[in-house]
Amino acid sequence: MSLPTISGDRGLDHEEKLIFELGRAGVTGVDLSDVKVSDARLSGLRRRGTIGLPGLSEPEAVRHYVRLSRMNYAIDAGLYPLGSCTMKHNPRLNEKLARLPGFADVHPLAPQSTVQGALALIAELMRWLTTLTGMPAVAMSPKAGAHGELCGILTIRAAIEARGEKRTRVLVPESAHGTNPASATFAGFTVDEVKAPPEGRVDLESLRGKLGPDVAAFMLTNPNTCGLFERDVLEIAAMVHKCGAYFYADGANFNAIAGRVRPGDLGVDAMHINLHKTFSTPHGGGGPGAGPVVLSARLAPFAPLPLLVHDEKGFRLIENRADVPEGAKPFGRMCAFHGQMGMFVRALAYMLSHGRDGIRQASEDAVLSANYVLASLKDVMSAPFEGPCMHEALFDEHFLHGTGVTTLDFAKVMIDEGYHPMTVYFPLVVHGAMLIEPTESESKESLDRFIHVLRTMALEAKAGKKERFEGAPRLAPRRRLDETAASRKPVLRWKAPDLPKAAE
């Protein structure tokens, strides 16, 4: 495999320069007829000098991005067991429909009489979200899960202020996603962590000890980040409500229970839904997502602008405080315009395709697949908690003790085996965590092959074959990268070389 080549490329593996090294001044891949413009209306602010952007012709641009794409792992190419991230199949129908001009080529501030179809789509998605969650209201504008968390916590803040109370603390379990404490702080609260007991679920006594008249909310992910359903959830909700606080649910794991369990029946007051997880809008290498927040009746009046109403004239967006219906007290605005329309279309297409029965089946298959992985690996790897799990199977580093192989090494060998690693070192409450979420999109054959590979790897590690783990991956476009150097002396942009190259 280390066969040197003249080009530096190897078969289908191409190295690729930066656009700044490929592009030339004066080259453009877009033909536009030039015009001269006067300075009369530029207020003396005309740009002096050039920007320095490289230009590529269309063939060069296409080749550049195709080559870059081939350095990425993707769901379409293989099993992507990244726990908590829900890497399920992204149906292409949804891509096609999101590009219909009546959704994609519509301006957010076009006269409302001309955008009734777009508003109808949002209203229909709202109906699905509220029905699936058993909650009466939903705020659609948040642009991602963390933005939804912020929206939910700000709604709670507004409700508490309307009661004339002052509550400053938000309780978050140690096992929570990092976004939970970050969002609560962002919303101006102090975060108080609830210790995780060895059983992997919230300890009612610890929670009771933390609750008090200054607590605004308890944030809980359910199923939780250890892959377990919080079986005491009804008591938790009752305890939280009894002290006058609100129960926030992180809906990142809703995909395990959608179509079977309604969060509204669990006493939840607010929950964001990652449309890019449960409802399969593509992750796109890190977004865009969408994070609508469903709200209980107590919180609904405080939902942010804009609001969507339906009356005799059709659908209407209420974008300003001056126009809100009686009883509505929006806390503010999360962003310009009305939310992630492109993601709404994809999510609704997913829902309509599955139907309520398909959504329930998808949840059941996701849970079944995770339990299958857990049952098939727990004798050679170590699972910190007794099953059944929900949609993800959690392992820890215990089975690697004494082998010289770490969780990170184990994950990196998966790359050489053609897989994306599972989520590692999260949740933080388990040592050397490995969180596997196979999703409902894998066939049994695919799961069996994956299980075979992981079993063999675990046995090899235990058999002392640590060489193949150390320094893995060896077969990827890059081997391990020096992250310490990257952060010690950050190079965050390309810069032209200081000296002109000598003539050859």
Binding site: S43, R48, D76, G102, R333
Partner: protein, 448 residues
């Protein structure tokens, strides 16, 4: 169900290995009272592609697409031509169906284009560094104000009256929790004296140029006044194409640039998803929100890229993070960087000139309509007209004639009586001479 590969037999075999009698047993931790039967969901059942496509196509047909006729709406979202290659490339499976690049060895494609994106954004804005994107321009502006509050340890943010009202509300919603936001009066078509509002508590001044009415502002004087008092200048740009013709904020003394990148590579999409651009000075990088990609090398010494300075971020720092952001706008940033690579310096500057020329011609033509006056003396591709009657009514009447003739200022500023007769009009490279003539004719008819 076409998306679910497991068969009945597969499920039975898997349950047997697990040792569970049925799938219900796997849900045994769910309280029985919280389990809903299928009939508890008043929703339709599984449908094929044909049915779903029919339903959504019929829905889409009930909206008027921008391409359907002469179109002049802007105010923070702009209709530009996106080359066909852009949408084709972003649908490559390896871009579309990958996650945040947490495993750099098999994510170099995403990491490299984000590094290129960061460099392009820094060059465009005239700043030293940029991040790998935020949700959109409005949330980028809010993050910029929070960052200024952290950097200066002062509470107050002064917002220009020309800042897009949705942006101002987004900033107020979060920044008032950590300090105090003050909005300057709205004076359409006129310069403001923001420097006079600075006091010892001021963290930052936020100025948009071109502003929501389309007018250009010289940022240098306000930057100078701000800097003498230790105040940061945040420049907001909602039409990024303007930077192909006018001086970038970084050359006018801005400390942070928060911009909307939708115009390049991304469609209107009824308001989202868009792509937030965030750029600043190198000395502030450890206070920046969002993901950053940095250059490094692998163990064989080959150049490569990684997510870096993660100790600012929520997954490491939790409640001490600089922002709660996780998922951002990766694929929209990809569309932006591809489109900009195709344009290059030459194409981008030309695109900007065409936009300005079209808007100038349109403004000249519409200002000839009886009773109409142009109130923005300077502009890029968007300007504001004063009409002899309420702009919202005029827009509806124009829409009835098949022309989407701009955004009435009253839609954004309903409480401001001075906004009632103002119409914000944008023109881009997508508008033809025929569009301009049709708009002028229709406006004449509507106002007569």
């Amino acid at each position: 169900m076409r998306y679910l590969p497991l068969t009945k037999d597969d499920r039975a075999a898997m349950l047997a290995r697990i040792g569970a009698p049925n799938v219900d047993a796997l849900f045994r931790d769910v309280p029985k009272s919280a389990e809903a039967p299928l009939s508890g969901f008043d929703l339709p059942e599984v449908q094929g592609e044909i049915e779903v496509e029919r339903t959504l196509s019929q829905m889409a047909a009930r909206s008027t697409a921008a391409e359907a006729g002469p179109f002049f709406c802007g105010a923070g979202a702009y209709k530009h031509h996106v080359p066909a290659a852009v949408d084709h490339l972003i649908q490559r499976s390896e871009f579309l169906t990958s996650y945040t690049p947490y495993q750099p060895e098999i994510s170099q494609g995403t990491l490299q284009y984000l590094f290129e994106f960061q460099t392009q954004v820094a060059l465009l804005t005239g700043m030293e560094v940029a991040n790998a994107s935020l949700y959109d321009g409005s949330t980028a502006a809010a993050e910029a104000v929070l960052m200024a509050q952290r950097v200066t340890r002062r509470p107050k943010a002064i917002l220009s009256g020309g800042l897009h009202p949705h942006y101002a509300e987004t900033v107020e919603t979060v920044a008032n929790l950590h300090g105090k936001v003050v909005r300057a009066p709205v004076v359409p078509g006129r310069a403001e004296d923001l420097a006079a509002m600075i006091d010892n508590d001021t963290a930052c001044i936020v100025v948009q140029s071109p502003d929501v009415f389309g007018m250009l502002h010289d940022l240098a004087p306000v930057a100078e006044a701000a800097h003498t008092k230790g105040v940061l200048l945040i420049a907001v740009v909602t039409e990024i194409v303007s930077l192909g013709l006018v001086e970038p904020p970084g050359h006018q003394g801005a400390d942070i640039v928060a911009a909307e990148g939708q115009s390049i590579g991304n469609g209107l999409n009824f308001g989202g998803p868009y792509v937030g651009l965030f750029a600043t000075r190198e000395k502030f990088i450890r206070q920046m929100p969002g993901r950053l990609v940095g250059e490094t090398a692998d163990v064989d010494g080959r150049r490569g890229y990684v997510l870096t300075l993660s100790t600012r971020e929520q997954h490491i720092r939790r409640d001490k993070a600089t922002s709660n952001i996780c998922t951002n706008s990766g694929l929209c940033a990809l569309a932006f960087t591809i489109h900009l690579s195709l344009l290059g310096d030459e194409g981008f500057a030309r695109l900007a000139r065409i936009n300005h020329a079209r808007a100038s011609a349109l403004a000249d033509r519409l200002a000839q309509v009886k009773g109409v006056s142009l109130i923005t003396p300077s502009f890029f591709n968007e300007f504001t007209l004063r009409l002899p009657k309420p702009a919202a009514e005029v827009v509806e009447a124009l829409a009835a004639k098949g022309i989407l003739g701009g955004v009435p200022a009253s839609r954004l500023l309903p409480a401001d009586p001075a906004a009632r007769d103002l119409l914000i009009v944008a023109a881009t490279e997508t508008n033809t001479d025929e569009d301009v003539a049709a708009f002028a004719k229709a406006l004449t008819e509507v106002l007569s």
